[in-house]
Amino acid sequence: MRISTQTLYAQSMRSMNQQQADLSHVGQQIASGQRVMRPSDDPQAASRAVQVSQAQAITSQYTDSRVSARNALSMEESVLNSVGDAVTSAKTLMLEAANGTLTDADRASIASQLQGIYQTVIGQANSTDGNGRYLFGGYQDKSAPFVTDASGNVQYVGDTNTRQQQIDASRLMSVDDNGVSVFQSAQGASGFMAVAVKSDGTANAGSVTIKGPEVVDTSDPAYGTPFKIAFAVDASGSATYTIEDTTGAVLQPPQAYTSGQPVTYGGQSLTLTGTPADGDEIKVDQAKNLNPDLFKTFEKALAILKQPVDTPAKQAALQNTLGNAMTEFDNSLDNVLMVRASVGSRLNELDVVDKVASNRQLNYAQTKSDLVDLDYNTAISEYSLRSVGLQAAQKAFVSMKQMNLFDLL
């Protein structure tokens, strides 16, 4: 083919331009360390890299979320520890107070110790985090969840929600527990408790003290149903008792009462000692139905300890109430420990998820690097290859330029 002089130059220029463009492209890749500098370099990889970056970012977003979840739970755990300690001390005081040789003054001194513990527990129940947010108010975290009303009783004014956080793609974790579930939900492992109190809520007038109840027959058909023992004393002073259900319907007809004799119903046996007054009642029910509230237990115990014991009725009331309070403190302690265990297991779960997430992060980083990062070995050898190509094109141009008939004429 005939070659025009313009073509000769144009071809050389074209090849030099091409070599230069390729060289500069590899040069840019080496400088940036990226194989995919623009989406057009590898559209699929660029598009997948956007998705992998998102996965990375979400993973670290959940990591942040776990940090704050861990903060909240650790704070709760330490509060629960203190509450547990306080309830244990309260129970020890109950044991002390139950000693029959104590005087009114001794009991008043125990009452003032118990009062201190009571205040501590209220304080713990109204704990705040570093930002002034109340830990145990449910969603109502702006104001103290436990307030003392005009009659000196502690009331819960929070709600029964628990705040949750997304700590992983498919795990929504509760990061707090509300005041009700911690302080007012003593379960007592479904055990039974007997309380000496009349239907109208006033104290019994007689001096019957209670021991038990104890479970004697779980196969009894009436086992597990609440009941009450209602006393009647006639004019001659002989006492009978009737077993009634909670509405007052008779379950077992009146029987003669003898102090110290066990009373059995529904597989439960109670030993009652002392003299009843007409109208006295003893309620037997699951502990959680009678009083699941830790603060009520404190209030009850404090009231009885401050009351001077000058009649057999008051003596019986003291003994019965202290017995009840001990059981209730035990139940509350169990409940606090159970919540603490649940907090602990959530903290463990956070650790596990953290480990999984950090592995995942490594994988994502590797994937993204595979997608868009440069393989320096390939790039550098490519770079030398292109340099050689460019130099060759330049040499060819120079020698072509010299091959001219006019130069030889």
Binding site: A10, P43, N404
Partner: protein, 541 residues
């Protein structure tokens, strides 16, 4: 005495050959120059040599092929220059939309950790502001490109008109010269062919040569641009279907400006600009808008269902550019349409524009999605509304519709331009569900969950939609680059072929100079010999 005249004819031919070679050498780098060759013939009865003329080496077939190849390369080159700007915009992974959407959801997650913390609330407002600003800035980059493109269309049209006018003028001159001298000067022909080559780089045209020697130049649809000495003007004009869009108009013989289809112009700079606009620029804006609408509607729906720190119901968090409908300027009916998003069918929202055409016979509307050509038929409901593609169109008065009336609906074109965070008060962020409470984070968790839900077109999460936008632009750019490379090498090859025919080779001309020198000397020798012979005869005594 014929030996002298033979010798003289040879000397004349030799100097004409010198001229031709010198002219070739001096024009070696002149664009559009075609190599010239001296045409010699023997005079009858052995009377010497005759210079018949100077032929230019021009192959109109190759020239046409080359022009058409250049037209395509030039279109692809223009396309590539434009699309690379979007490609470069998306290149920076750290400042794109993806990390900002991510940051927004991170701040929502922080809000879920501490719903009453003013700093966490302020964080959400901050990231919402940044995100919406980035959407707007991305869109304004694209809309700046669109208005820049309109300016370029105007320039191209002016240049095309100028070139066409020059070709028409040369047509007249060439016809005149041909009539007078039987042959037109090579320089005029070269000039005209060069103008046709220039024109081909701006727009794809067809050239046919008339017997008079004139070039007739027409567009793909047959409309003439140059016909003999007459030239027809192009002008830019607003499209009938969408007044915001610049179309190319054709001024016909009667002086009317007629809108031409974009598809008429597939080649040249003009074709490249129009193809880029229809194939990449507008679809990218629409996709960005679709993402913005899905994002805003998704967040707004959840946010409105919540309760803020003051205990009031949450409102919208984001404002968005509303959809547009344009009545075709050629409509004979006077009905006007209004369009709004249809939150109940948000997942049907597409990135397409729609052509809505009224058919009086059936009382139906034919709805065509312009980018895919998908057709549906719909009838007005009781409240004079049509619902399709995530929007609701309302006709003000159906009795004003006339058969064939057309409307163009653009659901998401300007959506991103109006994307804005409208919550400034941190307390107004609805982190709580309807049960309220300062520590209630239920709604914040619901907002956080939107991150991974398929809210864009009902099939993609926000991030996936953005990734697909990046992939689309990358693919488009990549395809154009590959096509350009292939087309460029075809153009280069054809240039080489054209040059091998019409280009000047200096070595060849140097050899010719030597040859013609000898030729001249030989003819001079003929005359000298004739003179010697004559002297011999005259010297006889």
């Amino acid at each position: 005495m014929s030996i002298f005249s033979i010798g003289l004819s040879g000397l004349n031919a030799a100097s004409a050959a010198f001229n031709t070679a010198s002219n070739n050498i001096s024009n070696v780098y002149t664009p559009g120059y075609n190599r010239q060759v001296l045409d010699l013939a023997e005079l009858p009865a052995a009377q010497g040599v005759d210079v018949q003329g100077v032929q230019r080496q021009f192959d109109s077939y190759i020239a046409q092929q080359l022009n058409s190849a250049n037209s395509k390369s030039s279109a692809l080159d223009t396309y590539q220059t434009q699309v690379s700007q979007i490609d470069n915009l998306l290149a920076d992974q750290d400042s794109g939309l993806a990390p900002l959407m991510q940051k927004f959801f991170s701040s929502v997650s922080d809000l879920a950790s501490s719903p009453s913390d003013p700093a966490a609330r302020q964080g959400v407002i901050g990231t919402a502001d940044t995100l919406s600003a980035q959407f707007r800035s991305f869109d304004s980059y694209l809309s700046d490109m669109a208005s820049g493109l309109d300016g370029q269309l105007q320039d191209e049209v002016t240049q095309i008109n100028n070139t066409a006018k020059q070709i028409a003028g040369l047509n007249t001159q060439i016809a005149l010269a041909k009539a007078k001298q039987g042959q037109a000067p090579n320089s005029l022909l070269d000039q005209r062919d060069q103008l046709v080559a220039d024109l081909s780089k701006r727009v794809n045209v067809r050239v046919s040569q008339q017997d008079s020697g004139s070039y007739n130049i027409s567009f793909g649809n047959g409309q003439p641009l140059v016909s003999g000495g007459k030239q027809f003007d192009l002008a830019t004009m607003p499209s009938a279907a969408d007044p915001t869009r610049t179309s190319i108009g054709y001024r016909d013989a009667a002086g009317n400006l007629v809108e031409m289809q974009d598809s008429t112009f597939s080649g040249g700079t003009l074709g490249g600009l129009l193809t880029f606009r229809d194939e990449t620029l507008n679809p990218t804006r629409n996709k960005l808008g679709q993402l913005a609408v899905s994002f805003a509607e998704g967040i707004n729906a959840v946010h409105s269902a919540g309760v803020d720190l003051n205990g009031d119901a949450g409102g919208d968090m984001f404002a968005i550019g509303q959809p547009k409908v344009y009545a075709n300027s050629r409509n004979t009916g006077t009905a006007t349409l209004a369009v709004a998003f249809d939150p109940a069918n948000a997942s049907q929202l597409t990135a397409g524009d729609y052509d809505v055409r009224y058919d009086a016979a059936s009382g139906n509307f034919k709805i065509t999605r312009i980018d895919t050509g998908e057709n549906t038929t719909a009838t007005l409901d009781a409240s004079n509304q049509l619902s399709f593609g995530g929007v609701k169109v309302t006709v003000d008065d159906p009795t004003k519709l006339v058969d064939g009336d057309r409307f163009q609906v653009q659901p998401t074109r300007i959506a991103a331009a109006g994307f804005q965070n409208i919550i400034g008060d941190p307390a107004k962020i609805a982190a709580a569900d309807t049960s309220g409470g300062s520590g209630n984070n239920k709604n914040a968790l619901a907002l956080e969950n939107l991150q991974t839900q398929s809210l864009v077109g009902g099939t993609a999460s926000f991030n996936q939609a953005y990734a697909s936008l990046v992939g689309d632009v990358g693919n488009r750019t990549n395809i154009v680059q590959v096509n350009l490379k292939a087309q460029q090498s075809l153009s280069d090859q054809l240039t080489d072929v054209q040059q091998s025919q019409s280009g000047v080779n200096l070595d060849e001309e140097a050899a010719n100079l030597i040859r013609y020198q000898q030729y001249y000397q030989a003819n001079a020798k003929v005359i000298q010999t004739g003179s010697t012979i004559l002297d011999a005869i005259l010297g006889l005594r």
